[in-house]
């Protein structure tokens, strides 16, 4: 049974240097209150695993600007000039991962798979240093599973068991990341009593969620 913790408490649980998955697609469906609290506490040296780095002042873009980040694993940084600047200056190390491969690597990390074989990236710079498997005459890249110390999710509703729902395109990477971190912290719009969310509507089972972030009183 979870009553929820404050965003500040959640940010305090994440040590400098931790690897953290953030849900969100260009800032839509990203855990904004915990991001603000991480900026406020002056987090440093984080490894961000996320689809993109949004834009300056939006979503995880705030962490980039505030100097909280040392590494980024993402599919796209083109919408955030600050990420590009810091990548060129060497302040941030960026690993670009094709979007579908990022989703599947996280899924593999959360589902106990030893990796995934995919056509994506064959014959491109993405294949450098990776094993190529020939299966039925076709080439596949072996992509390794991805896990993190923390996953920070944005949900629509949560109940006190941690069951989560999402809305429309705000789901994006959140459901898959819920499986792939040692500590999962979800920031819902609202925490509702157990039983309010019908079992069929639950998209992330509560057993995966360690902490809920409640709204400020």
């Amino acid at each position: 049974m979870q009553d929820g913790i404050s965003a500040e408490r959640a940010a305090a649980m994440i040590p400098d240097g931790a690897s953290v998955m953030f849900g969100g697609f260009l800032g839509v469906g990203s855990p904004d209150r915990v991001i603000d609290a991480l900026v406020a506490r002056g987090a440093r040296g984080l490894t961000l695993i996320c689809n993109d780095t949004a834009s300056p002042g939006v979503g995880v873009g705030k962490l980039i600007e505030a100097g909280c980040v040392a590494h980024v694993k993402a599919s796209h940084i083109g919408t955030n000039p600050t990420t590009q600047k810091k990548m060129i200056s060497g302040e941030i190390e960026v690993e670009l991962v094709p979007q579908g491969t990022l989703a599947e690597r996280i899924r593999a990390g959360g589902s106990g798979l030893g990796g995934v074989l995919t056509r994506t990236g064959v014959g491109t710079v993405v294949s450098e240093g990776k094993q190529v498997w020939e299966i039925d005459g076709e080439s596949f890249l072996l992509e390794m599973p991805l896990r993190a110390d923390f996953a920070l999710l944005r949900a629509h509703e949560a109940d006190h068991f941690g069951n989560l729902t999402y809305r429309l395109t705000a789901a994006n990477f959140n459901p898959v990341m819920a499986f792939a971190a040692d500590c999962v912290i979800a920031e819902p719009e609202e925490i509702v009593p157990v039983g309010v969310i019908p079992p069929d509507a639950v998209r992330t089972p509560g057993v995966l969620v360690h902490h809920l972030v409640r709204r400020p009183q």
């Binding site: 697609f25 094709p98 979007q99 579908g100 989703a103 994506t120 014959g123 395109t169 898959v176």
Partner: protein, 253 residues
């Protein structure tokens, strides 16, 4: 007619009824404005929705309903929303009938480069590598040249997006199909000569039908209905596009 409009309208003729289509950001999004009458296409946005419509009126935007470019959209009746793993299973698993992508270069073997210029722009590949590797048909919609230099070249000088050969290249001058034998010139744009196309192309073109290569035809556009209604086809980008094009804005007013 502007080059981009010619390209978008010709690509739209490749759309087939009851198919799932993903349009890349930029020029390819224009294709949604020219869906031929009587054809029903489901557009996917890779951030997690199939069946989205035009942007909602001001003040009615839903902050949780956006496209892959981050713009507000609406959900049409019958739309489906899903997470990123599902979205890319659709793309990578052979469920996507067609994708239309922009291009920086295509080479004589039909390989596409469209995601970075070393030392200049490194935005990241986003979903481009997945789309080229996974869609049943890959159509490259791009201008024939950039600053006077051919974008169709013998060998790529930019990093490829995938090893796979694309299905079709559509430019404001021509429709070109990469095949085992090489790049075949299938159609020329109205009023464009074969010589002009050959002179603007940096790779060997095989002439389909000799020097008389047929010219593609574009239906009259916009249709009458467009003059009074903002968007008869409920295309999701119409407003943004119309803002770019003063003549249409006038029509809307």
């Amino acid at each position: 007619m502007e080059a981009k409009e010619v390209i978008a309208r010709r690509v739209a003729l490749e759309l087939r009824d009851r198919t799932l289509v993903n349009l890349g950001i930029g020029l390819p999004t224009l294709v949604a404005c020219y869906v031929p009458a009587g054809i029903s296409v489901a557009f996917q946005s890779e951030n997690g929705i199939i069946g989205f419509g035009e942007p909602p009126p001001d003040g009615l935007e839903d902050p949780y309903l956006t496209d892959a470019g981050g713009g507000y959209i609406s959900a049409l009746p019958g739309a489906a929303a899903f997470d990123s793993a599902t979205s890319f299973a659709l793309i990578r698993g052979g469920h996507l009938d067609m994708t239309v992508l922009g291009g920086l270069q295509v080479d004589s073997s039909g390989r596409l480069a469209n995601w970075m210029v070393p030392g200049k722009i490194v935005p990241g590949m986003g979903g481009a590598m997945d789309l080229v590797a996974g869609a049943k048909r890959v159509i490259v919609a791009m201008q024939h040249t950039a600053k006077g230099h051919p974008k169709i070249v013998e060998a790529l000088t930019l990093p490829p997006t995938a090893a796979r050969r694309v299905s079709l290249i559509v430019t404001e001058l021509a429709v070109i199909e990469p095949t085992d034998e090489g790049l075949v010139l299938r159609e020329r744009a109205p009023g464009v000569s074969v010589d002009t196309i050959v002179a603007s192309t940096g790779a060997k073109l095989l002439l389909d039908g000799g020097r008389q290569c047929r010219s593609f035809r574009l239906r009259a556009w916009p249709p009458e209905a467009h003059a009074s209604a903002p968007c008869r086809h409920r295309c999701h980008r119409c407003r943004a596009i119309l803002l770019e094009r003063a003549c249409h804005v006038e029509r809307l007013a």
